[in-house]
Each structure stands twice: as structure tokens, then as C-alpha cells.
């Protein structure tokens, strides 16, 4: 009885939704525990890819993790430097990062720098492909990356400590401690990495100069559970300090540091057929850019976001789930190049999911915004899931999405344009999920038409200024394969993603810059008892670096490999791991003239008690 209670209450909390919520049976990878109800209940017709926590804990960088395990392309200005995503060929502002259900893309730039986010602070990372602006707001056009902190209400205590040391003087450490109980659960964690990052440029007598970086993160999640009441608090602090590395043709002596804090308080009350959730959140981001690191002079920017929301989930019948959501956001931004500016936004969201038959469910989602400075968008999305039979399912979705102009776009003193409208997109997707025993195959085709894309160009006075000028059409095909086989003491896992992406600039009829036509990733891991071997392969096709498709960054094929061994020392499991990156010492770039690291090694030790 106790166990059942525990299991149910765990599920309730993890899914943060009434008991009828269930995990998406078509989840791509194992180990899935999602904290975001809109991911579990209202995304049936979307492709979700959960990254298992065993993979999360193997990485010190969110860029590396997603680059090697998804089809997202990262435009990284040299290893560890600013890293912006291109998801399904969209621009850097069209991938939303969602932290415990809240959009956290920078209010200043509209983007997330994936090297300014911690990776091992989360125990669930899910990549949701396709438009999600109804649920998640601005920026969820190519897709969204969901970083979640789960809390469990079971009696359990454990602490995990990891230490690693890599090439280029790269020490890293993390710890996570959980004190879980039936009424109160607390998880605290932290991580640190620093690197000289002075790798050799292969075949050139040059090093990566001025590229050192440091990242520090601390996080805490606390939950109280009392009868039908559940109160949770998530908190995160991130500090990054980087020098911006030079390139093959230009030295650099600039530096950058940034701090972000995120806090989210939720109070949830559950009834028989409803759940009522209040949430309050505060996000803070600030940066300092030092054009010359030898001089203590910098440009700074700061943004504070205040979010208040109320969600009412209602089970209208056995097969109908409704969710009403009202969200108020106020963003205040300031900086040396921004003055002081504020924006308010009120969004009303309605979500419906209807399980029409055992095999067919569909969702209808609407969002209306108010209080904006620009024309208030009305957004919608539709999705459906048809489980044709045990081994075949169909998914479809279509949506209208948007990306609001960032503070820099609107208020940058040298050229900001306060009259910008949001970028908008219409998109559709058709997905197939095929299962043959332990093999799962996902096939997806998508189409995105975007307009009013914001571009910075010199205006008539020669001042660079953003305008809603560009249009694009993206379409492509994605294939994901996952295979797991276990027998006796052996376990084999193979997972692979391939994406073909066309992203056409409608004006010039050329491929958008920094969007590869082809990208493929694959990982094979083999475990025998406590020994794990893996090989990871990543092929990135040629990308264009100029809008006339003349300049290119060549295709690259990079292979990493590693070995883990776990043994028990006085009942404490200790894992020792060695990983070799770029084992064939291949020269490659993600951004033109910015070489990526040569062959390098990383050793780590991980203790759980």
C-alpha cells in the first residue's frame, strides 16, 4: 500500500499533473521523468527526445551533449565560446530554452548561449521538435530544449560526487545531494569547470589563444507536500567567465562574464478533477563585456523578468483534458547600450487534449497575447497521435509561432528599432513512429514558413539597424533510430539521428548560412557487467558562411570514444571513466576560421553514496 502511495505521489509530482497523466509511451530514449505537464499531456503529436541522465552525467557542456545526441547544429565561436543553435534550419533566436516550464532565452539577445547554461544541474533534458509558441511563448519555432529538475517524494538519501580532469588543463567537479522524504524533499547541487582551452590548431603552428573559460553553477530544489497541497521552489545560479578566443586571422583580447539567476515558486492544489497552480518566477541575467581584458573597462547589460502565472487544469470527462493558463511577464532591461526599458506581456492560453478513441488523440491549443507594444499575436496549434497498431503510430502537428524582438533589437542605442514586429512562422509536421521489438524508428518530415525575420542592415544613414525584412522556408526529413538489447550480463545500445535540412532564404533563393544540409550522429555503447564501452560519431555536412552560398565551412566527421568501469568500495559504487574526443585528430570548424579542438582526453571519477 505504502509503495503504491509512493509511486502515485511520485508520479503526481514528477508530472506535476493529475493522476491520469502518463508518460508518453513513444518516448525515444529510456529514463524519462518529465516535470512539465505541457510536455507530457499536451504534446502527443510532437517528436520528443529525452536525453537519459546517464548521458547527461557524461558531459560537461550542454553544447556537446546536444551536438552529439540530436540534429541541432551549433554555431560555436571556438570551443566553449558563444554557442547558438540552429534547430531545423532556423536562426539562433528560434530555439526556446525552457527551464522547469519557463522560457529563459535572454531578454537582451533573444537567444540562449548554450555555453552559458549548466548541464549537470538537471536530471531531465528533453528536446521537443517543432513549433511550441502557444505553450512556451516567443522563440519556440524550430523547437525547444527543456531543462527540468525533478523532485521525488520517497524516503531516500544519496550524494553523488564527480571529479574530472581533461586536456588543456581542464579540471571539473560536480556534486548533487538529495535528501528526499514523503513530506519534504530537498536536492542541492553544484558544478564547476575551468579550462585553459589552449588547444593546438591542427596542421597550423597556432594555438587557441585567449580562449580560457570558467563555469560555475549552484542549484537547489525544495518541495513540501501536505495533503492536496504541493509547494515547490527551484533555484539556480550560474556564473560564467570567458575570454573570447581569437581566430585564424585575428587575435583577440576581449573577455566576457555573465551571471544568471532563476527562481521559481509553485503552489499546486489538487482536487478530484482539477488542479490549480500558482506560480511566481524571477529571472535575472547580466553580462559584462571587456573589449580589452587588460583594462578594467566594460559594457554591461542587465535584465530582470518577473513572471506571475495561474494554471487551471481540468478533466472535463474521461477522455478530455483542459488547461487554462494566464501568464503575466514584465521584463526590465538596462545597459550601457540600452538605457532603461521595460515591456509587459499578458498571455492567455487554452489547451485541449481529447482522447477520441483508444488509438486516436488530438490536441488544440490557443494563445492570445495582450499589452504588447506591437500587434498582439494570436497563436494556435493542432496536433494528433494515431496509434495504428502495436508497432506503428502517426503523429501530425501544425502551428503558428512567433519570436518577439529582443531588447537589443528594439532599444540598442546605435540603431535599435522600436517599431519592429515579431517574426512569425507557420509550420506543419508529419511523423511516423515504428517499433520492431527493441528497435524504434522515428521518421519526421517538417515544413516551416517564416516571415518578418529580423535582420540587421545599414540604414540610409549608414547606421546598422534591424528590420523585419527577410522570409524563409525550411523543410526537411529526420530519422532517429534507437535500439537496445540486453542479454545476461551484456547490454547493447545504438542510437542515431540523421537530418536533411533545407533552409531557403526566399529573397535570394539560397540556403541560409550555417545550416548543414546533412547532419548525422550515432552512438553505440556496449556494457558487460560493470564495464561500458562507447563510440560516438558525428558527421556535419558542409555549411555556407555567406548568403550567396560561396563561402563554406567544410564537412567534418568526428569520432569520440570512451570506457567506464564501476566497482564497489565498501558498498560505495565508484565509476572511473576515460574519454577520448576527436580520436582521429581531425581538423574541423563550426564557424569559419575558428578551429575546434584536436584530439583530447578526459578522465573522471564518480562516487555515489
Amino acid at each position: 500500500m505504502n509503495q503504491i502511495y509512493t509511486a502515485i505521489s511520485t508520479l503526481v509530482l514528477l508530472c506535476a499533473t493529475p493522476v491520469y497523466a502518463q508518460l508518453d509511451s513513444l518516448q525515444q530514449l529510456e529514463t524519462v521523468v518529465l516535470t512539465d505537464v505541457r510536455l507530457t499531456t499536451f504534446s502527443d503529436g510532437y517528436k520528443l527526445q529525452a536525453v537519459s541522465d546517464s548521458i547527461i552525467s557524461k558531459n560537461n557542456s550542454l553544447t556537446d551533449l546536444l551536438r552529439d545526441n540530436t540534429s541541432i547544429y551549433f554555431k560555436e565561436n571556438g570551443y566553449g565560446m558563444v554557442s547558438s543553435p540552429s534547430f531545423r534550419g532556423t536562426n539562433a533566436s528560434q530555439t526556446a530554452v525552457i527551464w522547469n516550464g519557463i522560457a529563459i532565452n535572454s531578454a537582451l539577445t533573444g537567444q540562449s548561449d548554450f555555453n552559458a547554461l549548466p548541464v549537470n544541474a538537471y536530471n531531465s533534458i528533453t528536446v521537443r521538435s517543432g513549433g511550441g509558441s502557444v505553450q512556451y511563448g516567443s522563440g519556440a519555432i524550430g523547437g525547444s530544449v527543456h531543462l527540468n529538475n525533478e523532485l521525488q517524494f520517497i524516503e531516500q538519501r544519496d550524494t553523488e560526487i564527480g571529479l574530472s580532469c581533461g586536456s588543456y588543463t581542464t579540471p571539473a567537479a560536480y556534486f548533487k545531494s538529495s535528501v528526499l522524504g514523503r513530506a519534504v524533499s530537498v536536492v542541492v547541487g553544484g558544478s564547476f569547470i575551468s579550462s585553459e582551452n589552449d588547444y593546438d590548431y591542427i596542421d597550423r603552428k597556432m594555438k587557441n589563444e585567449n580562449g580560457e573559460f570558467l563555469r560555475f553553477n549552484a542549484n537547489a530544489s525544495v518541495g513540501f507536500k501536505l495533503k492536496q497541497h504541493l509547494i515547490t521552489w527551484n533555484s539556480e545560479y550560474f556564473y560564467g567567465d570567458r575570454s573570447f578566443s581569437g581566430s585564424l586571422t585575428a587575435p583577440s583580447n576581449s573577455a566576457y562574464n555573465d551571471i544568471s539567476t532563476r527562481n521559481l515558486l509553485r503552489w499546486r492544489l489538487e482536487g478530484n478533477r482539477f488542479a490549480s497552480t500558482f506560480k511566481l518566477a524571477h529571472l535575472m541575467e547580466q553580462y559584462r563585456y571587456f573589449p580589452n581584458r587588460d583594462r578594467y573597462a566594460f559594457n554591461k547589460g542587465l535584465a530582470n523578468s518577473y513572471i506571475a502565472g495561474y494554471v487551471f487544469d481540468y478533466k472535463a470527462g474521461k477522455n478530455i483534458e483542459l488547461s487554462f493558463d494566464a501568464n503575466f511577464t514584465r521584463i526590465e532591461g538596462s545597459g550601457d547600450n540600452l538605457d532603461h526599458n521595460a515591456r509587459n506581456n499578458l498571455a492567455g492560453i487554452f489547451l485541449l487534449k481529447h482522447r477520441l478513441t483508444k488509438k486516436l488523440s488530438y490536441g488544440l491549443n490557443l494563445r492570445q497575447e495582450l499589452l504588447n507594444d506591437f500587434e498582439n499575436p494570436f497563436l494556435f496549434s493542432f496536433d494528433a497521435l494515431l496509434e495504428v497498431n502495436k508497432w506503428y503510430a502517426l503523429k501530425i502537428n501544425g502551428s503558428k509561432n512567433y519570436r518577439t524582438p529582443s531588447f537589443n533589437d528594439l532599444f540598442w542605442t546605435d540603431g535599435g528599432n522600436p517599431n519592429l514586429e515579431p517574426e512569425t512562422s507557420f509550420q506543419g509536421e508529419f511523423g511516423n513512429v515504428i517499433k520492431f521489438g527493441k528497435l524504434q524508428l522515428d521518421l519526421n518530415a517538417f515544413y516551416i514558413a517564416s516571415e518578418n525575420l529580423i535582420q540587421w542592415r545599414p540604414n540610409t544613414s549608414g547606421v546598422w539597424s534591424p528590420e523585419n525584412v527577410s522570409e524563409a522556408q525550411n523543410y526537411g526529413l529526420e530519422v532517429s533510430i534507437n535500439y537496445t538489447r540486453k542479454f545476461r550480463s551484456h547490454a547493447l545500445n545504438f542510437s542515431s539521428n540523421y537530418a536533411y535540412t533545407k533552409a531557403i532564404n526566399s529573397e535570394k533563393n539560397t540556403q541560409q548560412i550555417y545550416v548543414p544540409f546533412h547532419k548525422a550522429t550515432g552512438t553505440i555503447s556496449y556494457a558487460y557487467k560493470k564495464l561500458v564501452l562507447f563510440v560516438q560519431s558525428r558527421y556535419t555536412g558542409e555549411v555556407y558562411t555567406t548568403t550567396d552560398n560561396i563561402g563554406v565551412v567544410a564537412a567534418s566527421h568526428i569520432i569520440n570514444s570512451g570506457i567506464d568501469y564501476t566497482f564497489n568500495q565498501a558498498d560505495i559504487p565508484i565509476t572511473i571513466a576515460i574519454k577520448a574526443n576527436n580520436i582521429f585528430n581531425t581538423y574541423y570548424e563550426n564557424v569559419a576560421y575558428r578551429p575546434m579542438p584536436d584530439r583530447n582526453f578526459e578522465t573522471s571519477i564518480n562516487i555515489k553514496f
Binding site: T249, P291, R295, A297, R457, G462, T545, T547
Partner: protein, 354 residues
């Protein structure tokens, strides 16, 4: 191709030997081209901002031959990031690479790299020469207004011999009468000064205050025409452009004409007795003797660089600044387009190899 090259060297040697035999027969030797890039237009292309390399494009005077990335072809290496400009002295070309903080010294006709000057430069912008001395405007750290200088180069050794400290934002320079006139456009900020440097003592002789943001200069006899763009609106203290005429014999201001407060002209050029400049997506023409500014443009287009020469306007368009630009030639009698060529990314400098 290589064989052809070797054969042509052989031919040159044969010709040289043959010419040694008969001292009177020098004419043949002089007819030999000085290099593949003699008699043509050179365009310096800044290259993509942030990372990557700038390039130099060549178009022959008869417009029949186009070569892109001339430097890379001849030397097998990249020039560097942000090729800002090029200066000349005798048979040498001095390619100024702003963000790589260097100057590549080439033979201006063959583009063979002869030397690299990369110590002592900090955000170099432009190069001029007086005799065997080169002058390079340097911003220094663009966020510091007090470290700007003109580097003085001994062109026989290609080394920097001294620095002349100057006020904020030295940019374009012209030389006349053993003096160097430096326009202080203002780097990332704004300035309103012309420095006059004595090329014998390398000291600043004079400081002339003119309009805000002097962005281009041309010399006509002893008259120095300076076009000022004015301060842009985002500064909160917007000023309109202005056109100044300075007498270089005594460094006095002769005349000045003011544009409207929101007009920001640039790209001043001279051909015959006419001045040309760009403003608000048009090219304007006026006679040096005019006492008012023209009200109508003669050619429309947004140009990134432009020069009028012998009845022809050479103008570059940087397009979206992320792809190859174009060079367009206009006949200034009819103001119509004559021809157009694809050049490199962000074509910022137009030069003539006579």
C-alpha cells in the same frame, strides 16, 4: 599552368640576356608587363566581420579580366581579418589589415608578398607615403580615446621607427607639400579634427577644427576638400554633414557648406572640377565653384565605396554584408551603368594600378 609560368620566366630570362647584348635595345624590356595586375582596378574587400579573411579583387582596365582573391592566389595564404585599405609607394602596395593588426607589403603588380609589418600596429586603418617614409593611422584600443597614433614606417626596412600621438580616431590621410593631412573621423566615437603633420620632423604642426565626423578628403591643387558626415542621431546630439575647403598653403579654412541637420553624406571624390559624394541612397555632383549644395542626385544606389575618375564613377555595393559585393561602373556623361562586376565580401577600397 605551371609549365606556362616556367616558360614565361624562361622567356623573360632569354629576353634579358638578349637585351644585355645590345644596350640600345631597351625598349623591349620596358614593354614587359610588370606583373599580372598592372593596368587595372584593385578592390580591397574587408571580408566577413568577426572571423574570416579579407581579399583583393582585380579587374583589368579593358574590363576583360577579373581575378578574385588575388593575394591568396599569389601567396597561398590569407591576408587576415578586415582588410581595411591599401596604400601605394613606387612599386609597392601596403595592404592594411585592421583586425589582424598588420600590413602586408606586396609588389603592387605581382602581389607577391615581400614583407609583413605586424609589430607596433594597433587597429591600423590607412597608409600613405612621403618619400621613403610611410604613415599609418592607428586607432589603438578603439575604446580608449587617448592612445591613437600615426605609426611612422621606414619603408626601406619596413619597420616602425616612431609613433606620432594624435587625437581620437585618425582615419584617412592625404599628402601634399611634405605634409600629411589626417582626418579624425573618430573611430567608434566622433571627432571633428584635421591634424597636419610635418613629414620632415614628424610633428603635428597644426590642428584644424571642422565639422563632425570627417569621413573623406580629396586634394585639388592646393585645396583640400573635406566632407564631414555629421554626428549620427543615436548619439543624442545629431549634427548634419558639412563640406569644407582648406587652403593647404597656410592651413586656413576657405569655405564651408552645411547639409541639413539629418543629412549624413560620405564618399567624397573629385574628377576634373566636379565633386561627387553619396547621400541617402544617391550620388550627388557639384562643381567646385558652386556656392550651394546640389538638390538632386544623378545616380541612385547605396554604395560602400566610390571614386570618380576620368568621366567614370566606380562604386561598390556591399549588398547584405554577408556575401560577395559588386563593383559598378557608371558613365558620368550619361549617368548610366556601363558594367558591373562581382567582387569580394564588403568591398571597401577602390584603387588604380596605372
Amino acid at each position: 599552368m605551371n609549365i606556362l609560368k616556367k616558360l614565361s620566366y624562361l622567356l623573360i630570362v632569354v629576353v634579358l640576356i638578349a637585351s644585355c647584348k645590345d644596350d640600345d635595345d631597351n625598349a623591349d624590356q620596358q614593354m614587359q608587363p610588370l606583373g599580372d595586375y598592372e593596368h587595372g582596378i584593385l578592390i580591397t574587400n574587408e571580408g566577413p566581420f568577426g572571423s574570416g579573411t579579407g581579399t583583393v579583387s582585380f579587374i583589368s582596365n579593358d574590363l576583360s579580366t577579373e581575378v578574385s582573391s588575388v593575394f591568396n592566389i599569389e601567396n597561398g595564404s590569407d591576408l587576415g581579418n578586415i582588410v581595411n585599405s591599401m596604400g601605394f609607394n613606387e612599386e609597392f602596395g601596403y595592404i592594411v589589415v585592421n583586425n589582424s593588426h598588420k600590413i602586408s607589403v606586396v609588389n603592387r603588380y605581382t602581389f607577391e608578398e615581400l614583407a609583413i609589418i605586424d609589430t607596433g600596429l594597433n587597429n591600423p586603418r590607412h597608409f600613405v607615403a612621403v618619400g621613403d617614409t610611410g604613415y599609418v593611422s592607428n586607432w589603438g584600443d578603439p575604446n580608449v580615446s587617448t592612445d591613437d597614433y600615426i605609426a611612422v614606417i621606414d619603408l626601406l626596412t619596413n619597420t616602425i621607427t616612431s609613433n606620432i600621438p594624435v587625437v581620437l580616431g585618425p582615419e584617412r590621410m592625404v599628402t601634399t607639400n611634405n605634409k600629411v593631412y589626417v582626418a579624425h573621423q573618430g573611430a567608434y566615437g566622433q571627432n571633428n579634427q584635421i591634424s597636419v603633420i610635418d613629414a620632415t620632423t614628424n610633428a603635428v604642426l597644426n590642428q584644424i577644427t571642422i565639422g563632425d565626423v570627417p569621413n573623406s578628403m580629396v586634394l585639388n591643387g592646393t585645396d583640400l576638400w573635406v566632407l564631414c558626415g555629421g554626428s549620427p542621431s543615436f548619439t543624442g546630439a545629431e549634427t548634419g554633414g558639412s563640406l569644407y575647403r582648406i587652403n593647404t598653403s597656410d592651413n586656413t579654412l576657405l569655405t564651408s557648406l552645411d547639409f541639413q541637420d539629418i543629412e549624413h553624406p560620405g564618399l567624397l571624390s573629385v574628377d576634373g572640377t566636379s565633386l561627387y559624394y553619396a547621400l541617402n541612397g544617391g550620388v550627388f555632383k557639384m562643381d567646385m565653384s558652386d556656392s550651394t549644395l546640389p538638390s538632386n542626385s544623378i545616380i541612385t544606389g547605396f554604395f560602400y565605396a566610390m571614386i570618380a575618375k576620368n568621366g567614370m564613377l566606380y562604386a561598390t555595393d556591399a549588398g547584405d554584408f554577408a556575401s560577395n559585393g559588386t563593383l559598378t561602373l557608371f558613365d558620368l556623361l550619361t549617368n548610366t551603368e556601363v558594367d558591373s562586376f562581382t567582387v569580394g565580401i564588403i568591398p571597401g577600397g577602390i584603387y588604380f594600378n596605372e
